[in-house]
Every structure is written in structure tokens, then in C-alpha cells.
């Protein structure tokens, strides 16, 4: 069995208005305890994952690089000793450009973090301010240069489009600047307004308009064509990569392979069961420190749940779903209207289809049992 490990680091330099992740600014004094708890949780969980080959490790957050390279190195060593991590496993850490310099980057690479995923978001200072990001475009350029100088050969840049004040032209410039930095991987996300965030409340009050979905659709299509022209392959709704640099860890989620989540609020999945850790860091810490697995909840997927997940995840990664999975000819109208294409018996969404994936999934699976 091949599996992935996700480690959640809930610390951030500052909270961004749009973010609804389990992330906190100002909890820095918890870091030493948190690291010890991760190591303890790994050893508590390990026996259940005997025999699983760990093909990927992914540190997400929060901002994992708010912890020192030494601490992160210690963490990875502990994972390697507790689990059967493949020698060639993809090991990624997310990073905030402002937390990186050549010294810390060398430390991370040295510790075995061979893939770097950086939150660039935009190269337009006005858009960064609108997103309440503290870093500047210049610090992204500097961080990428430092990563290259250190020897990083697998770098991802995260982008967000559709923030208030961002024009299509500004988005094109952001894409140009991104391409100019030649990362191996690009993730571009349409800004989503989450109700339980400061930005969500601002929008609900009407102080800032919600993103215009039509403008975001234009931006998506711009990203598709500019990244394609620059040699990136589109392999998931929001992800592009140079050939061979697709993110193995994330592909594991989408292909419904097992994953173990460590840290506050992290989700795990295996054998049609999904469970998630206690979300508040303090409670998570107290539970692990008692020597208990910090599970906060779980669910069992019945066949119709599993079917629905299979359909929408496969459609997301453009691997396609066999036409024979659906009743009659209900895919026909989407083939006709150009939202789906038929790739040798597999239904694959087109660019327009990807933008309307929810509608496609609903229409294709309406009243369907797993077959």
C-alpha cells in the first residue's frame, strides 16, 4: 500500500483576511510543544501504518517555515524513523517568502525537503494589500532566486485571482512575472469568499463586492492559455506543472489513495473511512500529551459517497470517468455543448467544463447509485 503523510503546522506570521484554514498568528510560544506533540502523534499512529510505503510527505499550514529549519529537519527524521518513507519520496513544505533566506533554505534542502511551495498570490502590490498579504512582489523574486541558488529544482508558486481591485490586465502581469521566474509548478486559485473569515464578513456587510464569477472565469481561461503557451501542463482544475513535476502528494488525494494527517485539524483517509484531528491547537496538544490519538471525528463512506467522491475527484484531475458509469446518455448534452470530451471512452472536462464542474457532477450523478 502506498500512502501520503500530511503534517499541519498552524502557525502564521499574520492572519490573512480571506483564509479559513486552521492557522493562527501569535501562538509562537506553542512551537516547542507542538513539535514534540507531532513526534509523539507520529509514534502513536505509526503501528497502524505498518506495511504502508510513504510516497510523499507534505507540510502545510499555516506557515511551516515559521518553524526553524532545524525543527523541521528533526520532524522529517522522526517521520522517516517511524514510517517506511520511500527514499525517493516527494517531500514538500509550504513557505512564506518572507520566512526564507539562503541559510534557512539550505537547511531545509539539507534536511530532505526537496520541494518548495511558496505563497506568491500576486505580483501586483495593490492586490497583495487587498488580500492582506504582508510580503512584497520583490520578496517572492528574492526567495525564488535564493531557492535556486541553494539548489532547489522543484518550486511551486501559489497564486490567487479575482480579489477586489484586480483587473484582467493585472492578472496577466502576475502570470507573466510568474512565468518569468520559471517555477516547475503553478497553482492558481480563484479567490473564494468563506463566510467565517474577516473578508467574508466584509463582503456580507457589502463593504467589498464579492468576486465576479464571470471575471474569474475570464482569469481562469487566461491562466490556461498563458501557462499552456509557457509549457505547463494543466493537470488539475487549479494546478499546472512542467512535465514530470505534478505534485505526487496532491495526486494521492485526488486518486483516493490513503493518507495520514498529523497535527491540529489534519484529515486522514483509508479504507473508505475519513477521520480528522481535533482542530484547536491547545486541545490537540493536551490530548496528544496525554498519550491519546487526537481524533476529533470521523465518517464512513458508503458506496454512494465513495462514488460521488470518485466522480468529482477524477473529473478534477482530467483523468476522466468512464462513460459507462452514468445512466443512459446523460453525458451526451455535455459532449454536445463542449463541456466534456470523450477520450477513448473516458469523459474528460474541457476548460469550460472545469469551470462548471459542480454542475457537471450534479447532472451526471443525479439519483445514481454506485455501479
Amino acid at each position: 500500500m502506498s500512502a501520503g503523510i500530511y503534517v499541519h503546522v498552524p502557525f502564521c506570521l499574520a492572519r490573512c483576511g480571506y483564509c479559513d484554514f486552521n492557522a493562527y498568528a501569535g501562538l509562537d510560544e506553542l512551537k516547542p510543544r507542538y513539535l514534540r506533540a507531532l513526534l509523539r502523534e507520529a509514534s502513536l499512529a505509526a503501528s497502524a501504518w505498518d506495511g504502508a510505503e510513504i510516497a510523499s510527505v507534505f507540510l502545510g499550514g499555516g506557515t511551516p517555515t515559521t518553524m526553524t529549519s532545524d525543527d523541521l529537519g528533526c520532524l522529517l527524521r522522526a517521520l522517516r524513523s517511524a514510517f517506511d518513507v520511500a527514499p525517493a519520496a516527494e517531500v514538500t513544505t509550504e513557505a512564506n517568502p518572507d520566512t526564507l533566506d539562503e541559510v534557512s533554505l539550505a537547511g531545509l534542502l539539507d534536511a530532505g525537503y526537496t520541494r518548495l511551495s511558496m505563497g506568491a498570490q500576486s505580483f501586483d502590490p495593490a492586490v497583495l494589500r487587498s488580500l492582506e498579504r504582508l510580503h512584497s512582489p520583490e520578496s517572492v523574486r528574492r526567495a525564488v532566486a535564493a531557492a535556486r541558488a541553494t539548489g532547489y529544482a522543484n518550486v511551486n508558486l501559489d497564486l490567487i485571482y479575482g480579489a477586489h481591485g484586480e483587473s484582467l490586465e493585472s492578472w496577466e502581469r502576475t502570470l507573466e512575472e510568474t512565468i518569468a521566474l520559471a517555477p516547475e509548478h503553478v497553482s492558481a486559485y480563484a479567490l473564494t469568499i468563506e463566510p467565517a473569515t474577516p473578508l467574508g464578513r466584509t463582503v456580507a456587510r457589502g463593504d467589498v463586492p464579492a468576486p465576479d464569477p464571470d471575471v474569474q472565469a475570464d482569469m481562469f481561461q487566461t491562466a490556461c492559455s498563458m501557462l499552456r503557451d509557457a509549457g505547463y501542463g494543466h493537470y488539475e482544475v487549479s494546478n499546472w506543472a512542467r512535465p514530470g513535476y505534478e505534485c505526487a502528494h496532491n495526486l494521492g488525494y485526488w486518486r483516493r489513495q490513503p493518507y495520514l494527517g498529523l497535527g491540529a485539524g489534519a484529515h486522514s483517509y483509508r479504507d473508505d473511512r475519513r477521520w480528522w484531528n481535533i482542530r484547536p491547537p491547545e486541545e490537540y496538544l493536551a490530548t496528544v500529551e496525554r498519550g491519546a490519538l487526537p481524533v476529533g471525528g470521523d465518517e464512513r463512506l458508503d458506496p454512494s459517497d465513495a462514488y460521488l467522491e470518485e466522480v468529482f475527484l477524477r473529473l478534477r484531475i482530467l483523468e476522466g470517468v468512464p462513460a459507462s458509469w452514468f445512466h443512459d446518455d446523460r453525458a451526451d448534452r455535455f459532449l454536445e455543448s463542449g463541456l466534456l470530451t470523450d477520450d477513448d471512452g473516458a469523459l474528460v472536462p474541457t476548460e469550460r467544463g472545469m469551470l462548471l464542474l459542480n454542475e457537471l457532477v450534479l447532472a451526471l450523478t443525479a439519483d445514481e447509485a454506485f455501479r
Binding site: 473564494t192 464571470d214 484529515h267 463541456l339 469551470l355 462548471l356 464542474l357 459542480n358 450534479l362
Partner: protein
């Protein structure tokens, strides 16, 4: 029930006075009725509550009387039967039957407000019914009261001596004794012959879950015994009546109701349609009367609307609920209707918009149903090839003017307005296709205007427009006035080329464009974007008169879907799936229930107020 202590049954009716109170809304009718109950000790002080005679919750909430009631007051050896009258133009016929049960009417006028449209309309009804009018100015203790001016106005209307007009305060009780004395002195006792065959007028009929149909009657001739085989003239139904009694004010059995008396009869019937307001009761067999009392009319719906369950599976429940309501509401009509857009439902006929509102509210409140009501319309006559078709559903109207002539019902409207607002009133009536009949100054400041107006123009939001155009000072009353030829067309609304029958309506040709434009604009906002452009069109026949486009949806996808998002995402999809299943399909277009409800909502201000 308490035993009756009203004294021995008299063979003579000289001690009886049957009267009602007629007034414009808010001029104090219910307060006066309360005070009469108190002054005559009919209701013990400890049992007294405001608006004692208004029984239904809805009546108290809306401050209007929907059903008539009668109550017996005993005062200084006299038996005074106070017959309440419904207070809304929807119920003009019911008012006329209540008046027919009386010999006199207290015409109550607010000393501050003066004469209003309903004052006049009710006065004319009462006078035409031959009633003795006892005029009274109410609220004379109000600082804004102008008793002298109002007395002059009222005396000139009634052509009487100002000294005949009583001044009272129903609130404080001032002058109420004098009013009672005037009723006794001026209202003639009823005349009737015990020996003649029974003729009893039904002026109200209601359904009681335990006792079946109870009618309120006024005996004109003969005697109505407590237990008897009775017959209804209009419906030809016979039944064994179970009990006669009077409201004093609680129901109190009496051995019989003699000529001139007013009371209730437990008929032994189970369906109010067998005992209709205005019908005459007599005894079954040879001893029965040969002729009914004059003035009976079949209750006739004026306003029609389709009622559909929001959830199609509630159809049977809606049918049962309507059946139950019909037991107690003789004016309610309904027949099955099938709509392509809304499924199975009923086309219902109502006396007016208030009646429609009440029925809808009762169905939702008492039977827990969620309903979609189509836009109300009046009943049209469509003439085609020498044949007349009665149309009370826009779907039955031939599309695109394929008819020789259409007639619509009109009303005779009485409007009283301060002279300052005359221009606004005339403007509104012109805009509503009215024809001015006449106009007269009641005083230099107040004008009475008569118009013939299409009923379709008046039943919906006319009153609100009138009120807002006159700062609330104008008053309105109207009565049906037959049919008139008009240039009417059916406007259809199409979604993606598919007509939505629930949105079709019949309007005057000149109003077709504004109506169509308003509907398509409204629907543009209400119909969610689909996977393709949806044309929203309004059309007369095949001619499109207004169009909007709901642009195709371009983006509906979650940006991020990683390990921690998958469960949430799946649940979101399941919720969306349920939402889709609740939508109605029109051709290829998914339309949410809410869009139908919102699009068909009569502008909020125009209904529900009820009070006129």
C-alpha cells in the same frame, strides 16, 4: 349552555328592536358594540374583552369583521338584537343580508374624520333596505373632533334636523344611554304574523365542528320551533333542526323564535353550502311557505387564482384542506387545475382579494401547507363566433387576440376625498381606465366622486395607490356594475421559448408592455443562471413585447480540493443535489420554488391590509 332567563315568550313583538351599526372602518363600531354589551349588562364586567363579537383570530388580527354576528341585549324591558355586519367591500352582499334582518341602523360617524366612502355606501344600502337611520357622531371627546361641522355635514346628507344627531363617545360611554333610548324610540318594532307560514332569513351561516351548520336567522313570518323538519328554498335541502337560541352573548337555547325575532338555529346540516346566506328557511311539508323572501343571490366569486402546493406531493392534503374550508365558507369555489409549470393544484374563486388572502392564510396556518398562488384575475367573457365563454383562468383565453370581443367586469366606485387631492384621485382613476360618472362637493373641503372602473384595475393595488396619493385621506367603496367591452390581451411569459402557464395573465393592451417588462425584469433576477443563456420573454401570441437574458453560468467549481476539503465538498454537492431536486423544470430550465413565489407575489402593500 345556560338556561334562558329572558322572560316569558311574548306573542307581541312591540318590545323587539332589530338594528345594526354601520360605519366606515375605524369609526368605532366594535368599540360601540363592546360598550352596548357593558351598558346593558349583557356581558359581566369580568368577562369583558375588547372586540367581544369578533370571534375569529384573523378578525381580531386584521381588525375587521369577516363573519356577521348577532347578539341579544336586554334593556329596560326591551329586547334589542344587535346584528353586526362585515366590514369590507369584499362582503357587500353579506352586508345587504344583515341589513335585511334589521329595522334600523345606527349610522356611526367619526366626529374628527367625518363622512367617508363606506359611511355613504352603507348609508345608501341601509336606506335602500328601508331602515330607520339613527345617526350618531362618535369620538366627540377627541381634541380633533369637529362636532358642529360634522353635524351639519351629516344632517345635510340625511336631510334631517341637526338635533336628531346624537353625540357620543363609545370609548368613554358618554351618550351611549341616550343612543339606546333613541334606538328604542325611533326604530320601529318588527311586524310579522305568528299564524303565517314560516319565513326565516339566513343572514349568516357557519360550520361548527361539533354541531354542524349553525345559521343566524331573522324570522319574518311564522314561528321557528326549537325542533322541526325544515326546508331551505334555494338548495331545496330538508333537515331536522336541533335547537333554536340566541346569543346573549353566549349561545343560549330558547323554545322558539317568533316573528321579528333574531337568533341562531342548529340546522342538523353538515355543509354550509346547504344553508346559504340570503336563503329562506321554512317548514318542510304542507305547512311550509310557498315563496322565499326576496333578495337571495348565489355567492359569486369575483377574483380567481390558482393555488398549488409548493411540494407536489401535498396535492391530496391541499384538496382535503379546501374541502374542509368549504364546509365553513360558502363563498369559496375551487376546481382542479393542472399547470405545466406548477403541477396539480386548484383554480379557486374568491369574493375579493381579502377573502383570497384569508383563505390562503388559513390553508397555510391551519393546515400547514406551503402554497404557490398564481396572480389573481377577475372573470372575463370571451365572445367568439357568436358564443360566449366565461374565462377565469388566463390559460383559457385564446392567445394572440383570436376572439371577437372580450368583456370585463366593472364596478361602481364611490370615492370621498379632501378637495386638495381631487387632482390626484382623478389622475389615478383615469390611469386605471375609469369613466367619471359624477362629482359633488359634500362641503367646500370634501368631494364625492363616482367612477365606473374595471374591476381588474381596482381589486389589486388601487386602494393603496389611492391612499398614498391622498396621504391616507381618501376613502373608497365599490359595488359590482356588470360587464363592459375592453381591449384585453393575454400576455404569456416564456423561458427559453417555453411558455410558463403560471405566469400568463390577462391585461388591457395598453398595460401589456409595462406588465411584460416588469415580469421579465423580475424573473431575470429570480431565475438562477443555467448552463446556457435563457431568454426570458413576454409575448402577446407570437409577438414578443419584452425580453431579458439570464446569461449562462460560467463558473461553479471549488478552487481548492485537498485532503481536508473532500468531505466538506461532498456534503456541499449533496446539498446542491437536494436543492436541484426541489426545482421545477420548465422545458430545460430549472426554476426554484422561490422564484415562482416571488414573481407571483402581488406587491406586498396591495393586499393584507384589508381595512378600508
Amino acid at each position: 349552555m345556560r338556561p334562558y332567563h329572558g322572560g316569558a315568550v311574548s306573542t307581541d313583538s312591540s318590545h323587539i328592536r332589530n338594528f345594526c351599526i354601520v360605519a366606515h372602518i375605524d369609526h368605532g363600531k366594535s368599540t360601540l358594540a363592546d360598550r352596548l354589551l357593558e351598558v346593558t349588562h349583557t356581558v359581566a364586567d369580568r368577562d369583558m374583552r375588547a372586540q367581544y363579537l369578533d370571534k375569529m383570530d384573523l378578525e381580531r388580527e386584521r381588525g375587521i369583521t369577516i363573519k356577521a354576528q348577532s347578539v341579544r341585549l336586554l334593556h329596560e324591558g326591551f329586547e334589542l338584537n344587535l346584528i353586526d355586519t362585515p366590514g369590507h367591500v369584499d362582503f357587500t352582499y353579506e352586508v345587504s343580508r344583515s341589513l335585511a334582518a334589521c329595522e334600523g341602523a345606527v349610522l356611526l360617524v367619526d366626529a374628527a374624520q367625518g363622512l367617508e366612502a363606506q359611511t355613504l355606501a352603507n348609508y345608501h344600502l341601509a336606506r335602500d333596505a328601508g331602515l330607520m337611520i339613527v345617526p350618531a357622531l362618535n369620538k366627540i371627546d377627541l381634541p380633533a373632533a369637529e362636532p358642529e361641522q360634522r353635524t351639519k355635514e351629516l344632517a345635510s346628507l340625511l336631510d334631517c334636523d341637526p338635533s336628531e344627531i346624537l353625540h357620543i363617545s363609545a370609548k368613554s360611554g358618554d351618550g351611549v344611554d341616550a343612543l339606546l333610548a333613541a334606538v328604542i324610540e325611533r326604530v320601529p318594532p318588527p311586524v310579522g304574523d305568528r299564524a303565517k307560514p314560516l319565513q326565516a332569513l339566513i343572514f349568516d351561516s357557519m360550520f361548527d365542528a361539533y354541531r354542524g351548520v349553525i345559521t343566524y336567522v331573522r324570522v319574518q313570518e311564522g314561528v321557528l320551533p326549537s325542533k322541526a323538519r325544515i326546508r331551505m328554498f334555494a338548495t331545496r335541502v330538508e333537515s331536522d333542526a336541533e335547537e333554536t337560541g340566541v346569543n346573549a352573548p353566549e349561545p343560549t337555547p330558547v323554545p322558539e323564535l317568533g316573528p321579528g325575532e333574531v337568533g341562531y338555529l342548529v340546522t342538523g346540516l353538515k355543509d354550509v353550502h346547504q344553508a346559504k346566506v340570503g336563503d329562506t328557511i321554512t317548514l318542510a311539508g304542507k305547512q311550509g311557505a310557498h315563496e322565499p323572501l326576496p333578495g337571495y343571490r348565489e355567492p359569486k366569486p369575483m377574483v380567481w387564482s390558482g393555488l398549488f402546493p409548493a411540494d407536489g406531493s401535498d396535492y391530496a392534503d391541499l384538496r382535503d384542506a379546501l374541502d374542509r374550508l368549504k364546509l365553513s365558507d360558502a363563498a369559496l369555489h375551487f376546481e382542479p387545475e393542472t399547470s405545466k409549470a406548477l403541477g396539480f393544484g386548484f383554480r379557486c374563486g374568491f369574493l375579493g382579494l381579502l377573502h383570497m388572502d384569508i383563505v390562503k392564510e388559513r390553508l397555510e396556518r391551519e393546515f400547514d401547507l406551503e402554497l404557490i398562488a398564481t396572480a389573481p384575475n377577475v372573470e372575463f367573457h370571451v365572445l367568439r363566433g357568436g358564443e360566449t365563454t366565461i374565462v377565469h383562468n388566463p390559460a383559457e383565453m385564446p392567445p394572440g387576440g383570436d376572439h371577437d370581443e372580450v368583456e370585463e367586469p366593472v364596478v361602481f366606485a364611490t370615492i370621498i376625498t379632501p378637495a386638495d387631492y381631487l387632482g390626484a384621485v382623478l389622475g389615478l382613476c383615469q390611469e386605471r381606465r375609469g369613466e367619471l360618472v359624477d362629482m359633488s362637493y359634500l362641503t367646500p373641503e370634501r368631494v364625492e366622486v363616482h367612477y365606473v372602473l374595471p374591476m381588474a384595475e381596482i381589486v389589486f393595488d388601487f386602494f393603496d395607490q389611492l391612499k398614498s396619493g391622498t396621504r391616507g385621506y381618501a376613502s373608497l367603496d365599490y359595488e359590482p356594475w356588470g360587464y363592459q367591452k375592453a381591449d384585453l390581451v393575454r400576455v404569456d411569459v416564456l423561458l427559453h421559448g417555453e411558455p410558463v402557464d403560471a405566469f400568463s395573465t390577462i391585461v388591457h393592451r395598453e398595460k401589456a408592455y409595462p406588465y411584460g417588462k416588469r415580469m421579465v425584469e423580475r424573473l431575470k433576477e429570480l431565475i438562477p443562471r443555467q448552463l446556457f443563456d435563457v431568454a426570458v420573454q413576454a409575448a402577446i401570441g407570437s409577438k414578443v413585447i419584452a425580453r431579458e437574458t439570464v446569461k449562462a453560468k460560467r463558473k461553479d467549481v471549488l478552487a481548492k480540493c485537498y485532503g481536508g476539503d473532500i468531505t466538506r465538498k461532498r456534503k456541499l454537492l449533496e446539498t446542491q443535489k437536494k436543492g436541484k431536486a426541489r426545482m421545477r423544470r420548465v422545458g430545460r430550465v430549472d426554476v426554484p420554488q422561490e422564484a415562482f413565489i416571488q414573481a407571483l407575489r402581488v406587491d406586498d402593500a396591495s393586499t393584507a391590509k384589508g381595512k378600508k
